[in-house]
């Protein structure tokens, strides 16, 4: 294995955009080992010079020049960083100019816009969505269900909770979730409290084999985790969802991002990605 390359994420804000961008790019070079260094809150020329010192040290240690992915709003700070001997991919300097030309206006060059609290109302709504989602996990309450943007249903351990939290944190979506349990299958009906929110329901299903695997980690050697029981529950849940006309998705080989992207399209929710 060759020595790792160092990649710096430099930002005048949190650096989360820079890191998301960089990880997306690096995932296209999976044979290469990268050492990642975060440098958030670089909001002055002096701090940019500190970065250059660290970039130089990494270059000497690695024997090759580092890569820098940056999101620097200030042209002065960006210019200072360009003195570094590195491949610098500066997101704003590449994309802001064509956008300014297209929109016929100058950008505001304001630091900390995308992950700060620039818009307090939007921010507070998102925190409220996180609190709502947490309070409505696993069907613990029927209160305020009319305030939800979506209600996820599915058998225990089909992926409802991580998906709900992802929707809340990343998109500010109020996502309640409800388990479908053996009693629902016996009655072959939705839990009564959900009937009037049918248009908000979205189902998750999962392969019985994967479900048994996940459940075994929690409760080894239980009926709950047995493949026979998992098959019966998944089958009953799918029958119920089909009968009730609920849209659903198989989560078996999907990430929470993929489930979320599909769900947002299908349910028609307008969340903003943060």
């Amino acid at each position: 294995m060759t020595a790792a390359r160092t990649i710096f994420f430099v930002s005048d804000g949190t650096g989360i955009t820079a890191e998301t961008l960089a990880n997306s790019l690096l995932s296209q070079f999976d044979a290469i080992q990268f050492r990642q260094v975060r440098m958030p809150f670089v909001d002055s020329v002096a701090k940019a010079r500190d970065c250059i010192t660290q970039i130089r040290a990494a270059a000497e240690r690695d024997g090759q020049r580092p890569i820098v992915v940056s999101t620097l709003v200030s042209p002065q700070v960006a210019a200072a960083l360009r003195e570094a001997d590195a491949l610098i991919l500066d997101f704003f300097s590449i994309f802001i100019a064509p956008l300014e030309a297209e929109l016929g206006t100058r950008s505001t060059h304001t630091i900390g816009r995308s992950h700060g609290r620039a818009n307090a109302k939007t921010y507070d709504d998102r925190i409220e969505a996180i609190n709502f989602t947490l309070a409505h996990d696993d069907g613990v309450t029927d209160n305020d269900l009319d305030m939800s943007d979506v209600i996820l249903v599915g058998v225990s351990r089909s992926g409802k909770t991580p998906t709900s939290l992802y929707l809340a944190v990343q998109f500010g979506i109020k996502a309640a979730n409800y388990p479908l349990i053996p009693e629902d299958f016996e009655r072959n009906r939705l839990p009564g409290s959900l009937e009037k929110y049918r248009h908000k329901l979205f189902g998750l299903t999962i392969s019985p084999e994967r479900l048994a695997e996940i459940r075994r980690e929690r409760r080894p050697d239980s009926t709950y985790a047995s493949i026979a029981n998992c098959r019966a529950e998944v089958d009953a849940a799918q029958k119920l969802m089909r009968r009730e006309g609920i849209r659903w998705l198989d989560s078996t080989s999907k990430s929470i991002e993929e489930i979320a992207a599909t769900l947002i399209q299908e349910v028609g929710i307008n969340g903003k990605a943060f």
Copy 2:
């Protein structure tokens, strides 16, 4: 107000990277109204042509050409989309070429790498972090605290829960959180179960005025929410944290992203941003 411009997020995967990047750019043009259209899973030339049809319709309605932010791994699909009459900011075509030159290797051009389940182990670890964080919210259990990456402490409603969930969802960090309550202040000591994890503790504080505001929404006219009580609790919590040598941060005007970025640096955690 001028008519809204339409901006399309086009991706062969979830589109979450495209949307995050676009929102970061658009936040620099806050005087302009944008109408956002998500187009995830555009993984064929035929689907790219469907996009072009929608882009044309938006151009006619808006009376100005749309903006397209895209993350298309396939050169064929990207080329097909370039036929659209729009300002196209294609993120991969701009950044991948210089990276290939720098790294002396071709990229893999694999779709769905950054937000899929390409790396099952990393993905499963992250889901486990979400479950761990949820199970360790608000000090509900002392079990497995040694497995945590960080333990947040602070008075009730100082921002611990949203921050913990953000750390788990975005970075795959196992974040427990513990409320500091009047009994802790009376004893002027940390809750006993936390003593041996001092190196993992990170405190949040908040201005008493903002705290009272948040608490009043939950329990109006309560002692809990009174400004006198909030002042006393915040004061006692800060004294306790100072005495115990716990690093802390004022969350009053900070977003969960800003708190997370600072915390990760200070505690020295290696999470990956998703």
